[in-house]
Amino acid sequence: MTQQASKLVIVTEKLLLKQVAKIIEEAGATGYTVVDAGGKGSRNVRSSGGPTVSETDSNIKFEVLVPTREMAVKISDEVASQFFDDYSGIAYLCDVMEVLHAHKF
């Protein structure tokens, strides 16, 4: 048996890694995957400190498989309300056709 799900994607500043992870866990998601990312958005004028000369990624991208749209909105609302006034970030939801294999979902 496989299962339908959605994928919530959040791209935001690296500094927020632990805090966003905590929100995701507290919302009851079974896990998350996170990758280092660079990027440009409306706030790209904001610097992240740390030497740019030594090429560093300053964003992170979270991907969270969630069983319902509600959980996704709960997570992204929490993240946005806590951080998106002051930090750059974007959150969107994708459709996952099916979860083929997972230890727990």
Binding site: L15, R46, T52
Partner: protein, 365 residues
Amino acid sequence: MDFLSDFLMRFLTQLQSPTLGFLIGGIVVASLGSRLSIPDAAYKFIVFMLLMKVGLTGGQGIRDSNLAEILLPAVFAVAIGILIVFIGRYTLCALPKVKVEDGIATAGLFGAVSGSTLAAALTILDVQGVSYEPWAAALYPFMDIPALVTAIVLASIYTKKQRDTAGGYPNEQPDTAGGYPNEQRITARGYPKRDTASKRVKIWPIVKESLQGSALSALLLGLALGLLTEPKSVYDTFYNPLFRGLLSVLMLVMGMEAASRLGELRKVGQWYAIYAFVAPLLHGFIAFGLGMIAHYITGFSLGGVAILAVIAASSSDISGPPTLRAGIPSANPSAYIGASTAVGTPVAIALGIPIFVGLAQALGG
């Protein structure tokens, strides 16, 4: 007259030091669009090595020191750290097109301390044969932490007052460099505004955050190891001999950084640039003056006075920015990092160090 010519001569000699050469080399190379880069891992490791060396030197030195002597300079360091932020609060923040939070954060960064600038000053003092108390580098945290704490506290007092008077969202201040129009913002639910009104600023978490940062951790670890173990063998074969060379690489990185941050600084307006040019020297002179008081009262060495002045003149480059980003999230990092990295640090290294070391030498005869 004699004093002045003496000072000028010493100042000019110091301009030819490799430290400065690498800094300027970095600026030139980056301005010319070179793809030269020092890997991030190498940069971080070098910073660790330098701070560890500064700490080990201090720790080994403290053992034979009369610790009562450190009291007055340490008190002065705390006072200067706090003073610098207040100066910024009532000068920089009063200027047109400077958002108050941005100004406070910038002042906080200039009050905080740069380990690499400190390392550069110690090298010059050693080369010039100016002696200083071994514990002088341990003044770093005494200025760094109070400056950051003061900035964060001032900013949250300001934010709270804004919210109370405006009765609403503090960012609705018009026409600011760092403000973003909210019109096009998409939200899934119209998320509720944070209710931070009830939050009181706690000081201990900010102090802890500073102490746990990589720069202060490395410095304090070095101090502890220097004080408690016998690190002479590794110090003499590793941390000490590599110091100058690693510093030259770091200066190169800082030069490249300065050039690449200039664009950011330009976006936030010329007032930041003017502040960033004047502040290091002003702060340094204030500290030099207070240091001289300690010199006359407790016999604080002239080399130590120069170190106090350089610490004041420097602005934090490693652990200051993330601490401020977390502590004053509404401030625009381009403003404070741009001001500090693109102008403040080069001024502190290229002008501040030669001036204050030269002064110490000239006064010392």
